[in-house]
Symmetry: C2
Subunit: 334 residues, 2 copies
Amino acid sequence: MLRPTSFDVAERAGVSQSTVSRALRGSPGVNAETRARVSAAARELGYVVDRHASSLRLKSSETLALVTICRPGEDRSAINPFYFALLGSIAAATSARGFNLLVSFQESPANFRADFVASGLADAMIVIGTTSNRAAWDYFAEAQASGLEFVCWGSPGDPFHWMRSDNDAGGRIAAEHLVATGRRRPAFVGPQRSPQRQFDERRDGFAAALAAHGITPAIVSPPAGADRHAQGVAAARALLDAHPDTDAIFAASDMLALGVLQGLKDAGRSVPGDVALIGFDGIRAGTLADPALTTLEPDLDAAGEALVAMALEDDDHRLGGTRIPVRLARRGTA
Amino acid sequence: MLRPTSFDVAERAGVSQSTVSRALRGSPGVNAETRARVSAAARELGYVVDRHASSLRLKSSETLALVTICRPGEDRSAINPFYFALLGSIAAATSARGFNLLVSFQESPANFRADFVASGLADAMIVIGTTSNRAAWDYFAEAQASGLEFVCWGSPGDPFHWMRSDNDAGGRIAAEHLVATGRRRPAFVGPQRSPQRQFDERRDGFAAALAAHGITPAIVSPPAGADRHAQGVAAARALLDAHPDTDAIFAASDMLALGVLQGLKDAGRSVPGDVALIGFDGIRAGTLADPALTTLEPDLDAAGEALVAMALEDDDHRLGGTRIPVRLARRGTA
DNA sequence: CTGAAAGCGCTTACAG
DNA sequence: CTGAAAGCGCTTACAG
């Protein structure tokens, strides 16, 4: 027998197929002795409920779909590690609910897909990943306009239901920490007016807190570059050219910050001696840098949990706009 | 109408439901004009084939399950980035076949699961992740013994169908490079007789190539530690105590190597000036280290493709034991 | 507490 | 080339 069915279990246990189904689902009103006999028969046969039949009947697949948008042409191993970490925390929150997780990396029209819920494969969908892939987000905007629901991380655009870090608070914390440690000529490095509004939020929180101290930060938008790290290297150079006396940098993300760190070293500046540096995201690679990167770390467990809760249990998206708390992970660079 | 079915499409197109199914599946022998009418009706209704009904009927789900074993109690963001990168390449190979990917991170008996194929959810299963979680691998060994098939990365134990890097060649390449660049007192840092035989293979290739030059490397097994990085820091210390004149280190993995790099710096050794260092895996964080880590880099695309091919298309596992080629990524440390 | 039966939405052999 | 019908393996309302 290739794959036993509930009829096979029924025969072995000497009951009807409907009783097998009830017993195995834990339905109330099944005699304890009967239930035990059915369980034993199922175990002996190596029977596992067919999820397709079950899902078809129940009209629910207990599965969450997670789409990660990649940069076009990007090597999969070059995906920003923040998204891998977020994927991990989403997986944990999904598994805690007994749900399965369907994962899809998408980068070009050839593999854009938003029909996981429409096909019944998943009960809800989450979209994360780079906002730099305009074609992908246009595709998902259109999908949403045509009635396909999903929830996303960050703020890739206006029509979406999103959730993101408390970026404003993060910017303020960075500012206060730098001022408290004696820095007076701080700069912000990050994309300006990016569709990913997170970056502007971080800058604005930073600038607002500095303003209370009578300080105006230099603002540097990273030049175009292959990835955030390369952009950071170039941004450090540009910043030091324009403001050689900079004594502190708040970078809009860790990958950017790690590039800035490299650029500072290349320029002969010591960190944190000459220049203090703070990133944002809390990626693992930051702890391996030399010195280890001081950063604003969102509570990733909370992020995964909140995203999954919003996707799966929050039909009217009341959780929309929830701010995930961030904390200063003080390490070597500031 | 909540979710349209093929009957709704049939009504709109003025054909029978069976014709809708044939037209949409691209079955031969459907009138071109009919097919076009059906497609139009489906589009207008936003109809998408129900995958559960389809899979139930076809007895195939076009889905691959990927299990990643984690260290017990490990934060998801602390998972060795090599496995995230491998996950990415497996996702690419899966998606290239038009298959879905079901992802499951497992760490403790509470969430061990190997029944993805048995429940019909997936057509095949791949297992990757740390070999340090003995309970998990015992669980999967038992699953395999009871008839659940899967394919894994590395060599977590004997009963498994596996695929791994050409570790022996990698060890030899490391040795030849170090000798060619003038190093004469090399050491190997890595777990000895680990269930993950990869490590011993790397060491043996390394030692064999050195032997041809009349050199015997020092061998250091990293002390127990929270993770590979911490183990690397401690191993560097232990190695320098026992062999202060060491001028080159080949570490069994990049995370270990990054710890060793930290340990060397802590001890005041310059890299690569005093000590050259080579890792294994090609993780992204290595490129961010200072100096950037020289490493043996497996061809990840080939690894993902071969694993997926073996899981999905190689029923008798003739691909078992395939060696994924590695190349020396020469960066700053050697 | 248990069984017979309907039905979830498809695919395809069979008939025409 | 197209339609009517069986059947994939479940879950549960209905009857007893």
